[in-house]
């Protein structure tokens, strides 16, 4: 089970749009809520590191945008699970995301100046791309509650916007 989840996630993360897995591997709504919330938290933590570390206005502004938006999405997610009386359930996908993020943060924490800016922004592009893929191919199609699905769809648009925003900032750093 654990490995299958990891494999499914890896597929989503690597291929982005690859058609995914069997119905048996579909995450449940409590798991989806947990994954979405975790994905937001990861980006908030990366943003906090960037706000603390970067000296570049564009990068700090971008990080503040990430922090603000993902906090807003996560607040909506919390309000929704409360309303639906759903308890987010930890799962292998959330754990894999957190583990990968921890590694990335450790890498970033060793950098400073232009090297940090570049690595942070490039990771933001890649990370948003990955989460977009997971939302599109796995999380949104698997969600059974209509309100959860709708929140994920808004989340997808936010993440797609952030991906473009990150690409723009990456272009400015060059």
């Amino acid at each position: 089970m654990f490995t299958r989840h990891i494999a499914a996630l890896a597929t989503v993360l690597l291929m982005g749009t690859a058609p995914l897995a069997q119905a048996a591997d579909k995450p449940t709504d409590p798991q989806i809520a947990h994954i979405a919330y975790t994905a937001g938290t990861i980006d908030i933590e990366a943003a906090k590191l960037a706000i603390k570390t970067s000296k570049t206005k564009e990068v700090v502004d971008f990080a503040k945008d990430m922090e603000r938006d993902h906090e807003a999405v996560n607040k909506q997610a919390l309000d929704l699970v409360k309303k639906l009386k759903v308890t987010p359930e930890d799962n292998a996908t959330s754990q894999a995301l957190s583990a990968a993020a921890k590694e990335e943060r450790a890498k970033l924490a060793k950098l400073e100046g232009a090297a940090f800016d570049k690595a942070y922004v490039e990771n933001e592009v890649a990370y948003h791309k990955q989460v977009n893929g997971a939302l599109e191919t796995l999380l949104i199609p698997s969600a059974s509650n209509a309100e959860l699905k709708s929140l994920l769809e808004t989340g997808l648009k936010i993440f797609q916007g952030h991906e473009q925003h990150a690409e723009h900032v990456a272009g400015m750093l060059k």
């Binding site: 945008d65 648009k157 936010i158 916007g161 473009q164 925003h165």
Partner: protein, 103 residues
Amino acid sequence: MSKRQLWIALVLVFGTSPVQAETIQVTIDKLVFSPATVEAKVGDTIKWVNKDVFAHTATVKGGWEVMIPPKATASLTLQKAEAVDYFCRFHPNMKGHLAVTAP
């Protein structure tokens, strides 16, 4: 003043602004500007009504920018005739178009 002169005077006073400036509302809901395309005249006001919990902007590349806070409205009175594409700087996948013509 002859009748004809009076008539001309009236035209001069009232005739130059025959239409009232309008306020045109653009709603933002779930990262979508709607309507996405707006036709307006110089002097009209665009009022963006943001239903999202996210801050957005209406930004014209190399031109003006309007900040639109979450759950709030922001307005811009159109100063010149121009046709512009605008987008949200925070979420560049949000796009709108504004065609402003002389009054």
